[in-house]
C-alpha cells in the first residue's frame, strides 16, 4: 500500500535523523543510567528480596515525563524552525502519513530504549523465578505511557516553533494527565463538579491505566484509552498543521 510505504519512509528518515546527532545517544544513556540508578541503588531493589520488576517499573511514568517530551518536541518544532516543514509537506505524501510516521518513529525509538533495559529482566530471571507475564504487561504499560506522552508532544510541537515552549507545555499536560487520578486534584473538583464528571476526569489519568497493566492484566479499557488519546492527539496535530499551513 502506498500509505504504508510512505509511513515507513518517514519513519526511516526520522530514525536516521535521531541517530545522526548525539541526541539519541544522550537520551538513551541518560534514560538507562537514571532508571538503573533509581531502581537499583536509590530504591534498594535487592532489599525487597522479590523477583519482580516493581521497583523498576515504578519510575517509568516519572522519568518519561521529563525525557519523552524531549524527544517528542522535535517532531514538528524542528521542522518549522529550520523551514523544512514546507519541503516536507510538498512531498507526495499525505499530511496524516507524515504525522503518523513521525509519531511511530519516536515511539519506536522509546521502544528501543526500553528494550535496552534487558539487563534488569535478565537479573531477576537469574536470581529467582519471576512472573514473566507481569513483566511483559509492565513493558506494555510503559510503551503505552510513552505513546500517550509522545502524542501530547506531537500536538504541542505542532503549535509552536520553539522547542522549549513545546517541551514545557507538553510536560505540564502530561503531568496533568498523571495527576488527574490523584486525590489532591480530584478533591479540588469534587466540591464544584458532579461526582460522575470527577470520576470521568480520574478515568483520564494515565497512571490508573498504567497501574492496571502493571498488575498483569491486559484490559481492553486500557488499550482503548491509549488508542483514543493517541489518535485524538494525532488528529489534533493534523488540524493544527493544516491551519498553520494556510496562514
Amino acid at each position: 500500500m502506498r500509505s504504508l510505504t510512505n509511513i515507513l519512509c518517514v519513519i526511516k528518515r526520522e530514525l536516521s535523523d535521531y541517530f545522526a546527532s548525539p541526541v539519541a545517544y544522550v537520551f538513551i544513556i541518560i534514560f538507562l543510567a537514571l532508571l538503573g540508578f533509581f531502581s537499583f541503588q536509590l530504591d534498594d531493589f535487592f532489599g525487597y528480596g522479590q523477583a519482580n520488576l516493581t521497583p523498576f517499573f515504578r519510575w517509568h511514568p516519572w522519568l518519561f515525563l521529563i525525557l519523552v517530551p524531549a524527544i517528542g518536541m522535535r517532531q514538528w518544532a524542528e521542522e518549522r524552525r529550520s523551514g523544512s516543514m514546507e519541503l516536507l509537506l510538498t512531498l507526495p505524501i499525505a499530511a496524516w502519513q507524515a504525522i503518523t510516521g513521525k509519531f511511530l518513529a519516536a515511539w519506536l525509538f522509546v521502544g528501543l530504549a526500553l528494550f535496552l533495559t534487558f539487563p534488569a529482566v535478565l537479573t531477576v530471571i537469574g536470581l529467582g523465578d519471576p512472573d514473566l507475564g507481569i513483566i511483559f504487561t509492565g513493558y506494555l504499560g510503559s510503551m503505552m505511557v510513552a505513546g500517550v506522552y509522545l502524542a501530547v508532544s506531537s500536538v504541542t510541537s505542532a503549535m509552536t516553533r520553539s522547542q522549549v515552549v513545546s517541551f514545557i507545555v507538553s510536560v505540564v499536560i502530561c503531568l496533568l494527565l498523571v495527576l488527574a487520578g490523584w486525590p489532591t486534584v480530584t478533591n479540588m473538583f469534587v466540591n464544584w463538579l458532579p461526582k460522575s464528571l470527577v470520576d470521568g476526569i480520574a478515568a483520564c489519568s494515565v497512571l490508573t491505566h498504567y497501574q492496571s497493566l502493571q498488575r498483569g492484566v491486559i484490559d481492553t479499557r486500557d488499550l482503548v484509552y491509549a488508542a483514543s488519546v493517541i489518535i485524538f492527539c494525532l488528529f489534533t496535530t493534523s488540524v493544527i498543521l493544516r491551519n498553520r499551513r494556510s496562514l
Binding site: 538503573g36 537499583f40 523477583a51 469534587v190 498488575r215 492484566v217 484490559d219
Partner: protein
C-alpha cells in the same frame, strides 16, 4: 472538519468510546498463576448452581473523600462479580446498592450484616457483599484490598455455603484451649485473671465451614455424628480414649492429629505464668495407634532446619521453620498454592506404613535438617545445633496422610483394667457392648506440630480505618483448612483456596546465604570458642598470682599475660574478618549486578555513538 469544532467533536467521540469500553470490557490475564481469572473450582461450583443465588454489593459510590485504595479496589471487585455472573449463566443475580444515609439501601445493608466504616469527614463508607439463597444467607461485611488474594475464595465459599446447608461436623479434642475458655468467676474473685479466652482464629475460621463440637480429652467414645475428629496435642491419653479414636477411624471417621514434641506456646505460657512453672513441657503422641499403622514418631525429638530457619534481625532459630512452596507437596490438592507456612518446635514422622495403607507426604523439611532431642536442645547454643546439621539426601516428613485399610491398635478388643472398672462398668454391661472392629477404610492426617494452630503464627492484628481486623501472616490457616476440607471430600471449593500473591524470593541470594552460613558458622564458632579459652586463661593467670605479689608479676607470668593478650586481639580481629567475608560474596554479586544495570548498556551505547561518529567523520573527510 478540520477546525476547532472538529477537534471537539472527535474528543467527544472518543470520550463516548471510552465510556462504552468501560462497560463492555474484555480482559487477558497474563499472570503466571492466572491471578485475575476465576479458577476451575469456582467455575465448577457456579455451573452446578441448582437454586437461585442473589448477591448484593453494597458500595458507597458517592462518598466525597473516597480513599484511594478503595477507589482502585472497588472496580476490581465489580469486575470479578461480573465474571461470576457471566459464568453462572442466570444462576446468579448481582445487584449493586448504594447505601446513602437514611436510604432503603442502607437499611438493607445493615439487615444483611454489612456495616459501614467512618471516614475522616464523617461519611459512612460501605463496601461489603451479602449472599442469599432461599433461606440461607452469608455475608462478607467489609471488603478489604489486603484480602484481595482471598476474594475469589471468599465469594465462592459464600455461594457454596448458601447452596449447601449441611456442614460437616468436626469434633475437636484438644490439649490446649483452642476453642476458648469460659470466664472463671472464682478466679476473678480471687483477683487472678479468669476472664476466659476467645477461641483461636484457626478454629473460628473452621466454624465458618463446619459445625465444631468440643470433645473431652478422656472421652471413651466418639459420637456418631462426628465426621472428622481433630486431635490437638494429646498428652498421655488414656487407653480407653485411644481405643475410642481407634474405633472411630476404623468405622470410617476421618482423623487429623496434631502431635507436638514440645509446645512453644505452653513453654511461653509457663515462662509468663508463675503458677505453671516447674511443670515440664509435655510432648504429645498417639503412640499405640501410630505403631499399629506403621508410623515412627519420636515424640521427644525436634526438627532443626537450616534452610527454613526463621530470622529476626541478627537472631535466628532453626527450630522455628518458615516454610516456602518447596516444602509442600504441591501436587496434592490440600497443599496446592501454599507457600508460606510456619511450623514451630515441630517433630517428624518416618517409617513405612503397614500393608494396606498408603502414605502421602504433605509437608517435608529440607535436606539441611536434623532431629535433635528435646531435652538436649534446651541447653544448646544455636551455633552448636547448626554444627550438628549436615547436608544429607534425606528429608523429614512434617505432615503425612495415610489412606486405605487401617488395622486396629487393640487386637484384644476394648481395654479392660482399672479405668474400665472405675467407670462402674459391670461385667454384664461390658458384654453388651458391640464387638470391636479390627480394621476399616479411612483417611488420617498427621501433623508434627500443634503450635502452628495458634494465633501467633497465623494472624496479626491490623488497624484498618479505625477497625481492628485480623490479617493472615502465613498459610497455616489455609493449610489446616485445606486438610480438613480435603478430608470431607469437597474438591471444588478446595481448588479455589488461597490464590495467594505468591512470594517470589530472590532464591539465588537465599541459597548463597545458606551456604555461607554453613561455611562460616563453623569458623566463627571455632574462633569464638578460642576466644573464650583465652579469656579463661587470662583469668587463671590473674588468680595464679601470689597473694603478696599482688601488683608485681614474675617475668614468666608477665610474658604469658602479654602473649594471651596478643592472641586475644588477633582472634578478635580474625572474627571480624570472617564475619565480613560472610557477606562478601553476596555483596559482590549485588554490586556487579548494579553495575550491569546502571552502567553497562549506557557505556556500550556511548561507545557505539563514538564509533559511529568516528566513522562518519572519516567518511566526510574523505569526500
Amino acid at each position: 472538519m478540520y477546525s476547532a469544532v472538529g477537534v471537539v467533536a472527535v474528543a467527544l467521540l472518543f470520550i463516548a468510546v471510552n465510556i462504552i469500553a468501560s462497560i463492555l470490557n474484555g480482559r487477558l490475564d497474563m499472570t503466571e498463576e492466572k491471578r485475575y481469572t476465576l479458577s476451575d473450582g469456582t467455575r465448577a461450583i457456579l455451573k452446578n448452581i441448582d437454586a437461585p443465588v442473589a448477591i448484593r454489593l453494597y458500595y458507597s459510590r458517592d462518598v466525597k473523600e473516597m480513599p484511594v485504595w478503595m477507589k482502585n479496589y472497588a472496580p476490581r471487585v465489580r469486575d470479578m462479580l461480573k465474571e461470576y455472573e457471566l459464568i453462572a449463566k442466570g444462576g446468579l443475580t448481582i445487584q449493586e446498592k448504594n447505601p446513602v444515609p437514611d436510604s432503603d439501601d442502607e437499611e438493607s445493608a445493615l439487615l444483611d450484616g454489612v456495616y459501614g466504616q467512618m471516614l475522616p469527614d464523617g461519611d459512612q463508607l460501605y463496601f461489603g457483599l451479602a449472599f442469599s439463597c432461599l433461606e440461607e444467607s452469608e455475608v462478607i461485611p467489609v471488603l478489604s484490598p489486603r484480602d484481595e488474594s482471598m476474594l475469589e475464595y471468599e465469594i465462592t465459599r459464600a455461594i457454596f455455603q448458601v447452596l449447601h446447608t449441611e456442614k460437616p461436623t468436626v469434633g475437636v479434642m484438644a490439649g490446649m484451649p483452642v476453642l476458648g475458655t469460659q470466664p472463671n468467676i472464682m478466679m476473678m474473685q480471687q483477683g487472678m485473671s479468669g476472664q476466659g479466652t476467645p477461641a483461636w482464629y484457626m478454629f473460628e475460621d473452621l466454624k465458618k465451614d463446619f459445625t465444631v463440637k468440643e470433645i473431652s480429652m478422656d472421652a471413651d467414645a466418639i459420637e456418631a455424628d462426628i465426621d472428622i475428629l481433630m486431635v490437638v496435642h494429646p498428652k498421655e491419653l488414656s487407653a480407653k480414649t485411644l481405643f475410642a479414636i481407634d474405633q472411630f477411624v476404623l468405622k470410617g471417621g476421618k482423623l487429623i492429629a496434631f502431635l507436638d514434641p514440645m509446645s512453644f506456646i505452653e513453654l511461653y505460657q509457663q515462662q509468663n505464668d508463675p503458677r505453671l512453672r516447674g511443670q515440664p513441657p509435655r510432648s504429645s503422641d498417639l503412640a499405640p495407634l501410630l505403631k499399629a499403622w506403621g508410623v515412627e514418631h519420636r515424640s521427644q525429638d525436634l526438627l532443626a532446619d537450616i534452610k527454613y530457619q526463621t530470622q529476626n534481625g541478627r537472631q535466628r532459630d532453626p527450630f522455628i521453620l518458615t516454610l516456602t512452596a518447596d516444602a509442600y507437596n504441591t501436587d496434592d490438592p490440600a497443599c496446592a498454592k501454599l507457600d508460606n507456612g510456619m511450623f514451630v518446635y515441630a517433630g517428624a514422622f518416618s517409617g513405612d506404613p503397614v500393608p494396606g495403607l498408603t502414605k502421602t507426604v504433605l509437608v517435608k523439611s529440607s535436606t539441611d535438617a536434623a532431629m535433635i532431642d528435646g531435652v538436649e536442645m534446651r541447653g544448646m547454643a544455636i551455633t552448636d545445633i547448626v554444627k550438628q546439621i549436615t547436608s544429607t539426601d534425606v528429608t523429614n516428613a512434617l505432615a503425612i496422610r495415610l489412606t486405605g485399610t487401617f488395622p486396629t491398635a487393640f487386637p484384644d478388643g476394648a481395654p479392660t483394667g482399672d479405668e474400665a472398672n472405675q467407670d462402674g462398668d459391670t461385667p454384664d454391661a461390658a458384654a453388651e457392648k458391640t464387638p470391636a472392629l479390627t480394621s476399616g477404610q479411612s483417611a488420617v492426617v498427621l501433623v508434627a506440630d500443634a503450635d502452628l494452630l495458634h494465633d501467633a503464627f497465623c494472624v496479626e492484628q491490623i488497624n484498618l480505618m479505625g477497625k481492628q481486623l485480623l490479617r493472615q501472616t502465613s498459610d497455616n490457616v489455609a493449610f489446616v483448612h485445606n486438610l480438613v476440607e480435603h478430608l470431607t471430600g469437597d474438591m471444588n471449593l478446595l481448588s479455589v483456596r488461597s490464590l495467594g500473591v505468591k512470594s517470589r524470593p530472590l532464591t539465588t541470594f537465599q541459597n548463597m546465604r545458606a551456604k555461607a552460613e554453613k561455611e562460616y558458622q563453623v569458623r566463627i564458632s571455632k574462633l569464638e570458642a578460642d576466644l573464650s579459652e583465652i579469656n579463661k586463661e587470662m583469668n587463671e593467670l590473674q588468680k595464679a598470682k601470689n597473694p603478696d605479689q599482688r601488683f608485681v608479676l614474675t617475668p614468666e607470668q608477665e610474658a604469658k599475660f602479654l602473649e594471651a593478650q596478643r592472641k586475644k586481639s588477633q582472634t578478635a580481629q580474625e572474627l571480624k574478618v570472617v564475619r565480613k567475608e560472610f557477606r562478601k560474596d553476596i555483596e559482590r554479586l549485588q554490586n556487579s549486578l548494579k553495575f550491569a544495570n546502571i552502567a553497562a548498556v549506557p557505556l556500550a551505547v556511548a561507545l557505539t555513538g563514538i564509533v559511529v561518529a568516528f566513522i562518519k567523520r572519516r567518511r566526510m573527510s574523505r569526500k
